[in-house]
């Protein structure tokens, strides 16, 4: 038993040394900006991590990019509580659920931390600056425009979405549906939006089911980055590239193979790396007393729009990815 205990002590001590060597504690006088995504480890948030860290390097500030490994609001709350203990200057968070984070963000604010949200809005009453990638209404409408461009103004279509509780996805779909009702009365939605847990595999399965259940399906809108890929994969497997048009929000490099064979007609999105970059730059400016203003030119990002409330920042219009241009993007 003694031996086992000794072994244990040595092991734990070793692990400690390894980690102590691998990372360093933040110096207290350096500005520390936390950028927290909904979850880590999906291509979208990996891309924004690159942008955020790059901005940290360019500006000479410490950027901590960390988040839960599953899209769980409870996990985010715990991590934020820990980060308040750590003591940081700015917390920029993409909440999995806005209300759930209100108490902890309030705590952070009381501790003197500047609160940003990015990618997805948090409770406006606790947020100092809200960084949006896009105008939600325009983006929703844009996706339906793309759909009609590819499948024509009449016919059956379905919506494959990341999850039923994701506020931004729901907002785009709601705007898109309203827009379709007004402008494309010939479109017929076959079933409620189909949730896919933000997973390509699930989107693929559910799309196979959709194709089987609705033989006259002409179009699919995939909302959330893995959804259009899964849908395209299913369409390709069933050899329906010509009869079913898949469009949606996807990352260009991931979409490449599907754009090449035509199972995905067009993808649309903003550059998540730029979004991460912009968030860090704005946080840095804010700490130095410069608030964002309309028409401000941000280096490496472009011209931003700021709403009349002086705290909602819009990064810019979406970019469309097609067979011809996808290779020119790096994310």
């Amino acid at each position: 038993m003694k031996k086992v205990l000794v072994l244990l002590v040595v092991l734990v001590a070793m692990t400690g040394l390894v980690f102590a060597a691998g990372a360093q504690e933040a110096e207290d006088d350096k500005i520390t900006i936390v950028v927290m995504p909904k979850l880590v480890g999906i291509p979208y948030f990996n891309a924004s991590e690159e942008g955020a860290l790059q901005a940290g390097e360019d500006l000479g500030v410490e950027v901590i990019y960390t988040g839960p490994t599953t899209a769980d609001a409870a996990e985010q709350v715990k991590m934020l509580e820990d980060l308040i203990s750590k003591g940081v200057d700015v917390i920029a968070v993409a909440p999995n659920d806005a209300v759930a984070l209100t108490p902890v963000l309030m705590k952070a604010k009381n501790a003197g931390i500047v609160i940003f949200d990015w990618d997805t809005p948090a409770d406006p009453s606790v947020v100092d600056i809200s960084v949006h990638q896009i105008d939600d209404q325009k983006f929703g409408e844009h996706m339906w425009d793309l759909l009609v461009e590819e499948m024509g103004p009449t016919g059956e279509y379905a919506i494959v979405t990341g999850g039923l509780s994701a506020a931004n996805l729901n907002t785009w779909i709601d705007y898109g549906l309203d827009y379709a009702k007004m402008n494309y009365p010939g479109l017929k939605l076959v079933t409620d939006r189909v949730p896919t847990d933000e997973k390509q595999q699930v989107a693929y399965q559910k799309t196979l089911d959709l194709i089987k259940a609705y033989p006259n399906l002409k179009g699919i809108v995939g909302v959330s980055t893995p959804a259009p890929l899964g849908a395209a994969q299913a369409v390709q497997e069933k050899g329906k590239n010509d009869s079913i048009a898949v469009v949606g929000s996807s990352l260009p490099t991931d979409s490449g193979p599907y754009l090449e064979d035509g199972s995905l007609r067009v993808g649309t999105l903003w550059d998540p790396a730029k979004l991460g970059y912009l968030t860090v730059v704005l946080a840095y400016n804010y700490l130095n007393g410069t608030k964002p203003y309309d028409g401000q030119e941000i280096e490496n990002v472009g011209t931003i729009t700021v709403w009349d409330d002086n705290r909602t920042v819009i990064m810019g219009p979406p970019a469309d990815f097609t067979k011809e241009n996808y290779a020119s993007y790096s994310f």
Binding site: L8, A73, K78, D97, V99, L164, A167
Partner: protein
Amino acid sequence: MQSKLKKVFSSKEGVLFVIFVLIFILMSILSPHKFLSNYNIQSLAYQLPEFGILSLSMMLIIMTGGINLSLTFTATLSMIVGGLAMSSSFESTGMAFLSVLIGVVIMLLVSAVLGMFNGLVVSYIGVTPMLATLGASTLFEGISLNITKGGAISGFPFMFLNIGNSAILGIPVPMIIFIVVLVYMWILLEKSRMGAAIVMIGCNPKVAEYSGIRVKKILFQTYIISGILAGIAGIIMASRYNSAKESYGSSYLLQSVAASVLGGTNISGGEGKVLGTLLAAMILQIISSGLNIFGLNRYLTNVLMGFILILVLAINFITDYLKKNK
């Protein structure tokens, strides 16, 4: 004296305690001013109870030889139904205390009913626990989503937030609830006839049946208790997050299995200690918070947790083996 000490440290709980102390010291060395800060110790005390109670609930079921995969969705469905009742009664009557009371009672009732459902399917219909609770988890999630339409239920009276966010005599309210649950669980498992029956069922249900234990009834009751515990965790979570939603705490599901097993619960049933699970939950909690403060990549945190889990299991196996061959 020495042999007594030796006995304590060669028990599973003793090993866990040593590990806990070592990790605590390690974390304190890694970030001295932050990990040991008053604020962080407070925030640990607020974070632990919801996870600890879910782990105890999971442990109870694992002890019977089953597993409860619907644990977190039991918690969230009951908080959604209770939360809905609470916010709508607060809206219509404006009476905070009454609404909180209604909400909490309904949360507990719903969790008991959901536990009852699991118990019914497992003990009386005889479906394997893993399949029964997997099905139940999808069912509960589906019902939750139908109620919330994917959003969160909010608009609770301010008084309700006190449950998860305030302290009495410096002790956080969730911690007090957790201590009550711990004492109850200890009495249930160590001192009551039902506890003995649960252990026997976990070891061998057939033998238990032949020795006059009403296996079905005990199993049924165990699932109800597990459900109510999940409901209590749900109340704390709803209060801490000021809202109710189906996905809250989803990451706790496998962590609670990990805490149970790390705490010395035999995954095939028949063995489990409240103290062990408590220590295991505390270990996982300080690793998670400590490394987060330290600023370690979240994946590595998961890797390290898995590593420690396997390490402890290996140590337990080796000590058991050595004991048998003495």
